[in-house]
Structures are given as structure tokens and as C-alpha cells.
């Protein structure tokens, strides 16, 4: 049966080749044929100047550490939201207000690798309140408010080596999940030989609860699991919404040359965890308390300083301590994605080294658990018989299937890395019905409204790994591309191809109106609770306290108040607390100071931000507004006089005469 099918496919492909040659011969220059298609595709992505796109798309920045925002279908770039990396463009990570967001138990970390954005959900649908994204290197999860498009919280995930299977939320945003990619010794800072892996190393699955009012995360508990590598995760939907799923690889327990040593077993596992049960066990006190050190950084109040809190404990649930709540589903072979269809019934694994796409059935999994249809256990976690849960295997999926999303119309779309294509297959027959090339080597893909109960069968974005010849060449290292496909019809159609920022590993797209209705235009000055805010122009002043000088500075078109400051001394630490008194949308002021070993800072209307400056040389230091705020922007400037450390120049400030 299998053989027959692949013969048939080969036959079809040869046939298709003949048709293509014949078409070329009979129609002459193929570019004319292409013109019609191009016009058709151009019409579909054209959004007239001044018109808005239908969808917001959020593409992770990968090694840029950020999150970029785009409009679909035009594929217009809208914004980079800085998250895990300092951003000199806005002063994020350079201003005193944002520095605490970067604090970890390893100190200030200016960079990370952001992978999987996920929008908060209500009843299985993206609701546009917050978007979460994980840091893969120094394990963290960030929350971005979608009313301001700013990062408001970053929490470190302790006892984790690479928080890759993150940051996916459950159907009602009860939890955002994480998991360790590298198993490591769970005990904090344990110094052991690497080859004691099997004895000393563990995996950890993390469950962070979300406060429904503020969005604030809290590391509720971790589950200690066997020392595999946990790759990706997903929460269930509908019938499976009490469950989360993780893929594993390296069930071989390799700790060196994983490309070979972790590719030996025919099957690794999908871990199925009943999070609701686990949370109940924890609530009932079945967890153990372990030492840990992790930072929780967030904004307190409206727009003041981000603050860092250090936590020293974590609640840990050992599966053997309680009744069963998690299971392993054998799955070929080093699976990457684990994706749940909109009904919650099908659990699709992207076995990146497998020749098929295995599809597990959630209801059959429950039956197998009921019937104790197990083939053994791993650290006390039952392993369900493969045959008992498998609903189908999609054959001929191409080489290296990675990740799947769904259109809500009975079809799944799987990205296939090695053969560089997207395959569309039926959730009814598990047969491939369409395939289309990607440019080149696709990682994740994303469907508008994807990973929800109600995806929109409109657009698919393929996030690819190499651009090669796709655009004007930009040197040996080029930006990663994305392709936009129309999936509204029976066949997928490539519409557009555009370079992105960083390396998008995953993305989210949400109907624009779910966000536009909540986006703020300004920060209300009245609600500015920053301790160093200047509420009225008349409050602008300079204060000295020992070697610390605080400049309480106001900015309004087109001047700073004060704009002449004297009496600063070498050795002082000067804080420019700049308040933007504007209350008008998009009127931004910034400040840059000559010689400051810092970035500029940009201040949104109604906000206060602080630039720290430690002058090391005497002299006159110009500063100016870095944002073209108004007709007299160029006049928006001032001077600071820095005198010798022992000088007695009086501290004075002024604006105007």
C-alpha cells in the first residue's frame, strides 16, 4: 500500500514534469504566464496607502531577542518590540526604568534568543490582551501588553537549560508553559561530571499562572521529568484543554554529539500532561519545595520603574509522589512540533527525522489510559502503546516535517525543512492533498488566527531559514525570509516574499480589530506615577544629593526645561528624568547627550524615562531632542556645564531668560 502510493506519487511528478515542459513549449516565454499570476497575487496583498491591514502578525526575532510586528496581507513592517535585547533605538534596556527587566540570577543580561510568541487566549481564542514570548538561552518568559506594545514583565525560569518549549498558553490563559530543552542537574548550581548525565540530570516542565487582571505571571510549579530534551509544547483545545503536550528528543540520554547520539531511537515521546490535575495536586500540598534563585521583573503601577524581585523557592511536583497525571506517547522520530487541531482531538507531531507525520488521537489516548494499555514506564510515567493512540500516519510528507497548523476546515499544513516545502493534508483521510515550495528551508509556519479553536482559513506565513538569491544580495549574512501564502482556496498560492528581522522561529497573527480597539494613544499624564516625574513645566528643577544630581526635566514642543544646567562636577552621577508632557498621539521626545556612555532614550507622551550619565571630563556638553518632534525640533537643545570635581560652581538651571 505504502509502496504503491509512493510509486503513484513518482508517476504523478514525472507526469507533472511533462506537462510543465509541454506548457513551456506551447506557450513560449513562461514569464508572460507569470505576469498574470503576479498581478493576481499583487492585488491580494495590496493595501492602499492609508488603509489598514486585516491582521497583525507578530514574528519572533530569534537571535535578535525581539518581537517584530507586521501587517497582513501587505506584509508591511510596523514595529520592533524590544523584549530580551537592549535596544539603543528606544533606550530600552539603557534607561533606568527598563534596566531591571534584564536582571537575572546571573546578573544583567543584555541579549537573548526569543522563539515562540503566543497571544493570550479566552475560551480557546486569541483575545489580544497580551503576547508572551520565551527566551531560549537564559530561560525566561516575557509579557508584552498589546495596549502599548511594550514589554512589561520578564520572569526567569529556574532549573531550566534552554526554555525552548515555551511560551504557549492554555485555552483561558490559566498558564503559560515552559520546559527545559537541555536537561540539567535540577539541584541549584550542582557541580557534577557531565557524564553523570543519567544519574544527576533532570528535565523540568514549568507552569506559570497568569493573573487575569494584570497579566502578571507567577511560577506556580515545575514537574520533574526524565532527562530528555523537551523541544516544543502546546496546550490542548476544547476536549483536551485540561492537557498540555510536549515533544521530547534524546530519549537516548546523550550528552555529546547529539546529532548522532540522539538520533538512534526509532521513537521518542510526546509527553501528555493533565495540567489541571497537576495544579490540583500542587494546591493540595503534594509538591516539594526546592531551593531556586530566579528573578521576577515587572512594572509596578502604571509607567514608573520596572522592579526586580528575587525569589528563592520553587514548588516541584514529582510524578511518583502523586497519582498519575502524565503519560508518554511513543512518537517517531526526534519530533519537533506537537500541534493540536482546532477540535482538540488530534495531536500532530513533527517527527523531523521520520518518514511519516504521526497523528495521535486524544480520545484514543484517554481510552488507552482507561484500559491501562501501556508498554512500560519511564521514571514511573506510563508509556502508552503506540498503536493505542495513533489515529493515522501521513505518508509522503516530504523530508523533515517540523511543525503543523490548521485551517479549521479539516486541513493541516506542515512545514517540511529538508525538502523545503509546505504540505497540506486532510485530517479526515490523513493524505497529502497539496504541496508548495518554500524559499528556502522552512522552520515554523503560522496561519492567521492559528493555534486557536477558530483559525481563519486566509493566510499562511512560512518562516524560512535562508534567503540565498531571493532578494537583492546583502552580503554573506542575510536576513531571514518569510513567505505569505493564500490558503483560502483548495490550492495554496504564494503571494509575497519578504525579509524579516532576526530569525523568526514562530509567529502569531490576530484579526486587527481585536487589538486596535485596545491600543492606547498616549500615557495619561494624570496617571503617571513615576517618582521622578515632572507634572507641570514649573516643577522642572535640578537637585543635588552628594554626588548624585537629579535633573527633573520636562519636554514639550519645542524645548527642554531646564535647558541650561551648571554646577555639575566630574565624578557626579547625573540622572536626567525626562518627562514628556505632551498628551498627543505619537508626539515623542528623546534625549541624547554628547559623550554619554549610554543610548538615547525616547519618551512616549505622558511617560517619564531616565538617562544615567557619569561625565568624566570637564567642559560644555550639548544635549538635544533626538526625535523630530516639531517644526522647531532642531532648536530643542541645551547645554550642561561640567566643572572639575573640586570646583565650587553653583548648581543652577534655567530656561529662557
Amino acid at each position: 500500500m505504502k509502496k504503491q502510493k509512493s510509486n503513484m506519487l513518482r508517476g504523478m511528478m514525472i507526469g507533472a514534469g511533462f506537462v510543465a515542459v509541454a506548457a513551456f513549449l506551447f506557450t513560449g516565454c513562461p514569464s508572460q504566464q507569470g505576469m498574470l499570476d503576479t498581478r493576481d497575487a499583487a492585488e491580494k496583498v495590496y493595501v492602499a496607502p492609508g488603509e489598514h491591514d486585516e491582521y497583525y502578525a507578530f514574528l519572533s526575532g530569534g537571535y535578535s531577542g525581539q518581537l517584530s510586528v507586521w501587517g497582513l496581507p501587505s506584509s508591511r513592517f510596523l514595529k520592533v518590540i524590544p523584549v530580551f535585547s537592549q535596544d539603543p533605538e528606544t533606550g530600552y534596556g539603557y534607561s533606568e526604568e527598563t534596566k531591571p527587566l534584564f536582571q537575572t540570577s546571573y546578573g544583567f543580561i543584555p541579549w537573548d534568543d526569543s522563539h515562540h510568541p503566543h497571544i493570550s487566549q479566552t475560551d480557546g481564542d486569541a483575545d489580544g490582551r497580551w503576547i508572551f514570548i520565551n527566551a531560549n538561552n537564559t530561560p525566561r518568559i516575557a509579557r508584552i501588553d498589546l495596549d502599548t506594545f511594550e514589554t512589561k514583565e520578564i520572569i526567569e525560569v529556574p532549573n531550566t537549560g534552554g526554555n525552548h518549549a515555551s511560551s504557549f498558553v492554555t485555552s483561558n490563559s490559566e498558564y503559560v508553559i515552559g520546559a527545559t530543552r537541555f536537561s540539567i542537574p535540577y539541584e541549584k548550581d550542582l557541580d557534577v561530571p557531565i557524564d553523570s548525565y543519567a544519574d544527576n540530570f533532570n528535565g523540568a516542565l514549568s507552569f506559570l499562572s497568569i493573573d487575569q487582571e494584570t497579566g502578571r505571571m507567577n511560577l506556580d510549579f515545575q514537574i520533574i521529568v526524565p532527562p530528555y530534551n523537551y523541544d516544543l509544547g502546546r496546550a490542548g483545545k476544547g476536549i483536551s484543554s485540561d492537557w498540555v503536550f510536549f515533544t521530547t528528543y534524546n530519549t537516548e540520554l546523550a550528552h555529546t554529539l547529539l546529532e548522532v547520539n540522539a538520533s538512534q531511537n526509532d521513537k521518542d515521546f510526546v509527553a501528555a500532561v493533565n495540567w489541571r490535575k497537576a495544579a490540583e495536586f500542587v494546591a493540595e500540598g503534594h509538591g516539594r519545595t526546592m531551593d531556586a534563585e530566579y528573578y521576577h521583573n515587572y512594572y509596578e503601577g502604571n509607567q514608573g520603574f520596572a522592579v526586580s524581585h528575587v525569589k528563592n523557592e520553587v514548588t516541584v511536583l514529582y510524578p511518583e509522589d502523586v497519582e498519575e497525571f502524565m503519560y508518554f506517547l511513543p512518537t517517531p522520530k526526534s519530533p519537533h512540533g506537537v500541534d493540536i487541531d482546532p477540535t482538540g482531538e488530534y495531536i500532530v507531531a513533527g517527527g523531523k527525522l521520520a518518514t511519516v507525520i504521526p497523528v495521535h488521537s486524544f480520545s484514543r489516548m484517554l481510552e488507552a489510559i482507561e484500559n491501562r494499555d501501556f508498554e512500560g514506564d519511564s521514571n514511573g510515567i506510563p508509556i502508552i502503546n503506540y498503536e493505542a493512540t495513533i489515529a493515522g500516519e501521513v505518508e509522503d510528507p516530504g523530508l523533515g516535517p517540523l511543525h503543523t497548523e490548521f485551517d479549521g476546515d479539516g486541513y493541516a499544513y506542515t512545514s517540511v525543512y529538508i525538502s523545503s516545502e509546505i504540505v497540506k493534508w486532510s485530517l479526515d483521510t490523513f493524505e497529502v492533498v497539496d504541496r508548495i515550495d518554500s524559499y528556502y528551508s522552512i522552520g515554523h509556519l503560522m496561519i492567521t488566527g492559528g493555534d486557536t479553536k477558530n483559525p481563519d482559513k486566509r493566510y499562511l506565513v512560512g518562516l524560512t531559514k535562508t534567503a540565498k538569491d531571493r532578494y537583492l544580495p546583502t552580503g554573506p549574512k542575510q536576513n531571514h525570509p518569510a513567505q505569505l501564502y493564500d490558503i483560502s482556496g483548495d490550492r495554496m498560492q504564494l503571494l509575497y516574499d519578504f525579509p524579516t528581522i532576526g530569525e523568526p522561529h514562530y509567529a502569531q497573527a490576530i484579526a486587527a480589530n481585536k487589538i486596535t480597539e485596545r491600543v492606547k494613544q498616549i500615557y495619561e499624564m494624570e496617571e503617571n506615577d513615576h517618582p521622578h516625574a515632572v507634572r507641570r513645566v514649573g516643577d522642572a528643577r535640578v537637585e543635588r544629593d552628594g554626588d548624585v544630581v537629579r535633573v527633573y526635566m520636562a519636554s514639550i514642543r519645542s524645548h527642554f526645561r531646564p535647558d541650561n544646567i551648571e554646577g555639575i562636577r566630574v565624578g557626579d552621577t547625573v540622572y536626567f528624568h525626562l518627562t514628556n508632557l505632551e498628551q498627543e498621539w505619537d508626539v515623542v521626545h528623546g534625549i541624547g547627550i554628547k559623550g554619554a556612555n549610554n543610548a538615547e532614550i525616547l519618551v512616549a507622551p505622558g511617560q517619564t524615562k531616565t538617562l544615567k550619565w557619569e561625565p568624566t571630563r570637564t567642559g560644555i556638553y550639548p544635549f538635544y531632542c533626538t526625535a523630530f518632534c516639531s517644526a522647531l525640533h532642531q532648536e530643542m537643545q541645551g547645554y550642561v556645564r561640567v566643572s572639575a570635581a573640586d570646583s565650587d560652581v553653583e548648581l543652577v538651571w534655567r530656561t529662557g531668560n
Binding site: I522, I556, R557, S558, E582, Q583, W585, E635
Partner: protein, 193 residues
């Protein structure tokens, strides 16, 4: 006056009450960089922005041409206008209760005087703000003044300013039209008699 005339006159007086709760005039401005528009509402006792912070934005923009900042405290009109309107309501009710057509005439006369005085005041205020500019203003265009239009639209540099009656004025209009109707009706009734 017939009973229905008294009722209508009384109603006309009461129709001034909404003026305490809504603006009766609006000045709206658009410019290339203000696609959403900004503007001011004039109430009998207040000036407010079309949107929450419009007044601040207008003052910010106006400082470039040296125009005085617009602050509610600077207009004594807002102190006594509520009293005048209050008096008119009281007077209208007296006219209704007494049933004297003469008083309705007086009402109409007073409303006309108030309306004209209001427009003159509004014009002078616009003239003052538009002409008395700070000589040290950053933007000086020779011969240019920035008086907003009394009624209608006018281009002032990059800003197209429009000045029109607003919802409260509908009630002012009704409180004139209804008593005028009363006069007409009463006269007709008299003639018929």
C-alpha cells in the same frame, strides 16, 4: 394667552436647561498632520477639547505663532453666562405663567440681544487671540493674523479652522422659534376673534 401657548412658552424656557450640560459651539481644526482633527467645544461655562487633551495640544501649537494660551479662567463670560441663562429660564417661566404676550415679546427681544451680543463678544475674543501675538513668537508670517472664523471655515497656515453652532444651539433655536410661534398663533387667534 391660551393654555397651549402658555405651555409652549414654558417649554421654550425649559429648553435652555440643556445648555448647562452640552456645548453650543464648536471650533474644529484639521491639518495634514492632524487627520483625526482637533478642536474645542464652547459651553456656557467652559471650554473643552473635542478629545480629552485637545486644548493642551492647541495651546502647544499656538505658542509657535505667539498666541495666548486658552484657559477657561481668562473668560469672565463663563462666570456670568450661566446666570444669564438661568435668568432667561426664570423669565420665560414667568412669561408662561402670567400669560402676558407682552412678556413673550420681551423674551424674544432679550434673546435677540443676547444672541447678537454673544456673537460680537465671540468675534472680539477671536480678534484678540488672533491679533495680539507675542512679538517674540518663533513663527511670524508678515501680514498674517490668526483670527478664527465667526461662522464657517478659514485656512490659517496649515490648519483649516471651522466654527459652527453645536447641539446646544438647537435648543437655543427652539427656545426662540417656539415663542415666535406663540406670538404668531396668538395674533392669528386674536384676528380670528
Amino acid at each position: 394667552m391660551k393654555l397651549q401657548s402658555k405651555i409652549v412658552m414654558g417649554l421654550a424656557a425649559l429648553l435652555l436647561i440643556p445648555l448647562f450640560y452640552m456645548p453650543f459651539w464648536s471650533i474644529s481644526m484639521t491639518a495634514p498632520q492632524y487627520p483625526e482633527g482637533i478642536g474645542m467645544f464652547i459651553h456656557i461655562d467652559d471650554i473643552t477639547g473635542h478629545n480629552r487633551h485637545d486644548l493642551q495640544s492647541i495651546n502647544t501649537l499656538n505658542h509657535y505663532i505667539g498666541m495666548k494660551e486658552i484657559h477657561v479662567e481668562d473668560f469672565p463670560e463663563f462666570e456670568y453666562m450661566p446666570w444669564i441663562i438661568g435668568f432667561m429660564i426664570f423669565f420665560g417661566l414667568i412669561a408662561a405663567v402670567s400669560g402676558q404676550l407682552k412678556l413673550v415679546y420681551v423674551w424674544l427681544g432679550l434673546m435677540a440681544v443676547l444672541g447678537i451680543a454673544g456673537l460680537i463678544d465671540f468675534y472680539m475674543w477671536g480678534y484678540d487671540y488672533g491679533h495680539n501675538l507675542n512679538p517674540r513668537a518663533p513663527i511670524k508670517v508678515p501680514g498674517m493674523s490668526y483670527q478664527p472664523p465667526l461662522i464657517g471655515c478659514k485656512q490659517l497656515l496649515n490648519i483649516n479652522a471651522c466654527s459652527w453652532p453645536y447641539t446646544g444651539s438647537i435648543f437655543i433655536g427652539l427656545s426662540v422659534l417656539l415663542p415666535a410661534g406663540v406670538v404668531w398663533y396668538e395674533k392669528k387667534f386674536k384676528q380670528a376673534k
